[in-house]
């Protein structure tokens, strides 16, 4: 069964009087447990595609299905709930809340869901152990390295046991060694928890680890 299905998706941006066609009729299916990368040159539409899957952006036209249920036309509140329950985000720049410690950052999605503090803390600690950060739970982001921050972001993305994790250039700001360890962690979780991962990247090290590659060029899938 398809987890994600996109039918003839387009996305246009308006820059003054100029229309930029970021995506031009995308048809795409992503199945459960996939470890997939969307790759292509800068400006090919990778991030836009990921944003549409993540429902943080809306397509200009076309249909988006999640578990065969149309989701591009649901209300903003329902989209928020959908993202909270089903999607984990990992950003290129980590996007941790600077005033919160590692564990508090990881707790956030569960607390948004309405979980109690104690339950969220317990879960967050488990997730931080998964990413080997049990010694840094009380550190704030500014006291952590880039690799540690990204691992916190991974733990945060996984805490609600989402169906799919969307990672936008997760290794772009990391060195070779750290990138490898981050990729290993995500691959391990994919195998262990059957979590679907979709990356946008042009990092060859990451591409080498993928089960499936989706090539994007000029807003169209070319391979």
């Amino acid at each position: 069964m398809n987890l994600i299905e996109m039918k003839n998706i387009t996305k246009d941006y308006y820059l003054g009087e100029t229309i930029v066609h970021a995506l031009k009729g995308i048809d795409l299916k992503i199945e459960k447990e996939e470890f997939t990368a969307i790759w292509g040159p800068s400006g090919s539409g990778k991030t836009t595609l990921l944003n549409l899957i993540g429902t943080i952006d809306e397509p200009t036209s076309g249909d988006l299905y999640f578990n065969e249920k149309k989701i591009d036309n649901i209300t903003d509140n329902n989209k928020s709930e959908f993202r909270n329950n089903e999607i984990g985000f990992i950003f290129q720049t980590f996007n941790l809340i600077p005033v919160l410690s590692a564990i508090e950052n990881v707790m956030l999605p569960l607390q948004i869901k309405g979980a109690s503090s104690s339950k969220a803390k317990k879960e967050a600690f488990k997730r931080l152990c998964d990413v080997e950060l049990e010694q840094y739970v009380n550190n704030r982001p500014d006291k952590m390295s880039g690799g540690q921050r990204q691992r916190v972001a991974i733990a945060r993305a996984l805490i609600t046991n989402p169906s799919i994790v969307l990672a936008d250039e997760p290794t772009a700001n990391l060195d070779f060694k750290t990138s490898n360890s981050i990729i290993e962690i995500m691959k391990k979780i994919n195998k262990r928890d059957k979590t679907t991962f979709v990356f946008s990247t042009h990092d060859q090290r990451l591409l080498d680890q993928m089960n499936r590659l989706i090539q994007l060029e000029d807003g169209q899938i070319t391979g």
Partner: protein
């Protein structure tokens, strides 16, 4: 919820300098409002007591119907005769709130020491009743010589400037002259029992307090122009007024009753002026609090745009973002108020210890500056400041909540 309070508090602490300026603006405004409020509260209480007891108008004054309109042109017709005085006093004193009801007669004429003469205005009072009405003011109005005495019908209490003008000392004799109600000239000897400062500059050179019976003798009458009623508490004024009005109506007596507020124009004027100043200060503080908070929260929204985008991506709804900034705004208001309350108490304590004095307009002597510490007002102002800051945070919060998630995430 705790998490969002934590985020709000840490963000306030994170921007130390900006938060400090905002908190100080709120704290100063809070302090200014509460100090002024404490000062006006004390002043109102002082003026109220001074009007009711110090100037002796009591809580209620009963006139024969028509006195206030026509009494000056035909006083005899609109004065209260002896039988009516007895009847009214008896009816009024049946009311549970009434401490006493006492007749009064104001007179005026010329006072002379044999060489110099000048005009005077006098209040005819029953000395023992006057003492009861004065209450604590009896001791606060020091009299050189003796006070009025029920047994000494010709003994009077003269205001300082008048006594000085006539060169009179306690136990000196003088003569007062006035037209009786029939229009005949009447003159009576008086003896200055005591000399005192009325506390009001404008009447210190013409005021005399005389026994009620002496005033009646000078006007050759057994009438009073009003009956003054003292109640157990000023808050009972309106209720007692209605009840007494009903009692007198049932007894078939046509009278009109005025409250101390209606008669004390000075109190009303001062209160209106202070209320206006308070409104003015409050408006300024209101603008300062709102502008400071809007500015702080606006900056915060801009700086935290990416954070807002992240929270929205993680599933926080628009109302959640609104709540996050509303909590921060309310917290700024709360912390500013707490600092303001500390400043207020510190300044109140300094004033209490130093006890500075000042001479208010119209007063003949300096009075101590008192500021009341009003826990109820402080609590109300804390709530008010929290509410104001929360309102001020709404606009930036809405801007934050309505941001496009993708744009917010891409914000640098």
């Amino acid at each position: 919820m705790n998490q969002w309070i934590k985020v709000a508090f840490r963000n306030i602490i994170k921007n130390k300098r900006r938060s400090f300026v905002t908190l100080m603006a709120i704290a100063m405004g809070f302090t200014a409002i509460n100090l002024f409020s404490g000062y006006t509260h004390n002043t109102y209480e002082g003026l109220r007591a001074s009007a009711i007891r110090g100037s002796g108008i009591g809580h209620l004054t009963i006139y024969k119907k028509g006195w206030n309109k026509f009494g000056k042109s035909d006083p005899d017709k609109y004065m209260i005769d002896k039988d009516e005085i007895g009847k009214i006093v008896k009816i009024i004193e049946e009311n549970d709130s009434v401490i006493l009801a006492t007749p009064r007669l104001d007179i005026s004429g010329i006072v002379s020491n044999g060489r110099n003469s000048t005009i005077f205005m006098a209040q005819g009072v029953i000395p023992s009743d006057d003492k009861t009405i004065l209450g604590a003011f009896f001791a606060a109005q020091p009299v050189t010589g003796e006070t009025l005495n029920d047994k000494k019908e010709y003994g009077v209490q003269m205001a300082t400037d008048l006594a000085e003008y006539l060169g009179l000392k306690p136990k000196d004799d003088a003569v007062v002259m006035a037209a009786t109600l029939d229009g005949q000239l009447n003159a009576l000897d008086i003896q200055v029992s005591g000399i005192y400062d009325t506390g009001i500059d404008a009447i210190n050179d013409k005021f005399i307090k005389v026994p009620f019976k002496f005033a009646q003798s000078l006007y050759d009458s057994e009438k009073a122009d009003r009956i003054v009623v003292l109640l157990d508490h000023w808050k009972n004024t309106s209720i007692a007024q209605s009840q007494i009005m009903e009692q007198l109506k049932n007894a078939g007596i046509k009278f009109e009753i005025k409250t101390w507020e209606e008669l004390s124009i000075f109190y009303s004027n001062v209160k209106n002026m202070f209320d206006m100043i308070f409104l003015f200060i409050f408006s300024i503080v209101l603008v300062i609090v709102i502008m400071s908070t809007v500015n702080t929260m606006g900056m915060s929204v801009i700086e935290r745009t990416r954070e807002i985008g992240t929270l929205r991506a993680l599933g926080l709804k628009r109302r959640g973002v609104n709540m996050l900034f509303a909590i921060e705004g309310a917290m700024i208001g709360f912390l500013g108020s707490i600092i303001g309350a500390i400043f207020h108490i510190a300044i109140w304590f300094v004033i209490y210890i130093l006890s500075p004095t000042y001479t208010p307009p119209g007063s003949s002597s300096p009075v101590p500056l008192h500021v009341d510490l009003l826990p109820g007002n402080i609590l109300f102002m804390v709530i008010c400041m929290i509410f104001l800051s929360l309102i001020a945070a709404i606009f930036p919060a809405r801007r934050a909540a309505n941001q496009n998630v993708v744009d917010a995430l891409g914000h640098v």
